[in-house]
Subunit: 372 residues, 2 copies
Amino acid sequence: MNIPEYDVSHYDGYAVRAEDVAQASIDNPTLLKVVGQSFLGEEFEGEIKVGEAVYIFTGCRVPLGANAVIPVEQAKAKNGFIEVRRSVKPYENIISAGSDVKKGEKLFSQGHVLRAQDMKFLLDIKKWKAKVFKKPVVAIISVGDELTDRIDETDRKKLDSHNIMISHLIKEAGGIPLPLGIATDDINDVKRLIIRGLEKADIVATIGGASVGGRDCCWEAANRIGIPTAVIRGIKVQPGRVTSLIILDKPIVLLPGHVQSTLVGFCLLLLPLIRHMAGFSSPFSFTTLNARLSHKLSLKEFASFKRVRFVKVTKVNSEYAAKPVLGDSSLTRIVVKANGFIVVPEGKKTIEEGEKVDVHLVNGLFPSLQTF
Amino acid sequence: MNIPEYDVSHYDGYAVRAEDVAQASIDNPTLLKVVGQSFLGEEFEGEIKVGEAVYIFTGCRVPLGANAVIPVEQAKAKNGFIEVRRSVKPYENIISAGSDVKKGEKLFSQGHVLRAQDMKFLLDIKKWKAKVFKKPVVAIISVGDELTDRIDETDRKKLDSHNIMISHLIKEAGGIPLPLGIATDDINDVKRLIIRGLEKADIVATIGGASVGGRDCCWEAANRIGIPTAVIRGIKVQPGRVTSLIILDKPIVLLPGHVQSTLVGFCLLLLPLIRHMAGFSSPFSFTTLNARLSHKLSLKEFASFKRVRFVKVTKVNSEYAAKPVLGDSSLTRIVVKANGFIVVPEGKKTIEEGEKVDVHLVNGLFPSLQTF
């Protein structure tokens, strides 16, 4: 349908013929006879003739014959007449039929995320229901003998805090987190929880035990469940290089356990997967700012990999300055101090002070610079 | 406390004295005797002496005497000994006590918004509880005889879609929306709902009826409830100029009814108020991008006001281009087509094609460019 369906008034006022008030001015007011009124649901059905006006409410259909509206405060009502002290142009204060939406027009493309105004808009055009993508459920399995989910055991074990972090990020990415608890460093225990995850969720994510060390058993556990239709064993990014993917009907993502590696694996593999399954048009959702690096960065290790480095961005005059926040990949404080990250291309061994870099922000992790 | 509390191992491996393996190489491996092992909660209590090593798990305290860790895959275990084929530097693969957090250090300032990694961090340092600000509850009153909240009445009335839009924006701003329903264009009805809002919520917001037209009664209704301690009657911004504030113990925000005006009033008055009461360090939460205007913009009306214009931003090479999306302030389609807004300073009557402008993004309204 056209929106508005008809020519409607933009103000509470008087529907008039612009021709009738063409000569109206403060010194020479034009007198019009008020022949009716238009409320929503109870509109004036007649036609306006020469010298006539109809009182009209905002959003009401403009009566036949009228072609302009004079706002109520610009006309003086007196004994069934109004005095008009200015001229109006044809179509002044009228919203034309179809000016918001033309009949047949495409409104949203697949992958569009409905914002506040989009929901209002759908209701305004009487679209009471819209077909949307289901949010994917992501099962989370924390792996490690050293972990507990009980505060009273934290004298000898570590609280499974990864789960809280990843749950929040999954929610912000558009998924629904489903924590399945802790698996010990035992192939059968990890396998049992992955199978439960495959039953209950759309994606399964393990945290920790993704590498090839003595205790790391996630890869083996996932591969023992069935024959994968596709696998990624490691990504060429550091930190996070052991991040892996096994597709057994549903995807299983193995995230490394050191916090920086966990986050890189999340941002570069789990996040785009969630967004893809949630129907977003683009799997990546970084907001990107261009900034100048404030300190030289040496990147000798893993030079054939992409390297992720966390940075703290501040606004200096009208420019952004990014300071590298460096430290061991297991230190949470690094990502607490940071408010963005950069991805350094393969082969690059130094970024000079003052060089321009793209800083990426991610919902839930580095949501926006204004919160700092 | 220091985090980590002690020097801990970064890997599963062997805690050693770096001096002992200083000469180790592939051709000349050094043999060390494994004298114990360290699990979390069951750590090796002795001291490592010359020629000795202790098997150690990631995150465990490094035993006395040891000053480096050799990752498990870089040592070959055989009959209670390990063969080491490379040297390590002192403190290699060890995370020093206090390197993540030094005892006494300030971690977060008031107003900081806890992100995913911050919550993990607090759990890691055994901060099980954190004192946070309460989210302010915002009562929403839609005002207008023409409105209904019943779909079966939409043949003759308009569905109250503003409420859905503003509720979503309030949630994204950090508040809790509390819709109180629809008031008719009657001072007593509006007053009754404002009083209910003052009882139940931290902020009351009305939508519509904020101006000085015949039907507009929100200002009068709010002022009849009591003597305000402070008021703002209109803001010098267009659209949105009738946005008002009445403080009666709690703040009452009057938002205009035309959708562009509603949104400007929300972004410039209600949003900062919610953020202030929610404890954010900065009342404004716009992400701002610098873009080039792609079409000349004429701004003759309300030249003594700030003017808000909605724009559609696209990335052109490495720059952003902003195209004005123009149209009547009541048209929802304008803000559906837009993905940002600019604020034009007082007095400025034209922005030339190619001129640089700051484009603002807001959670829930224009969340980020990546979703387009």
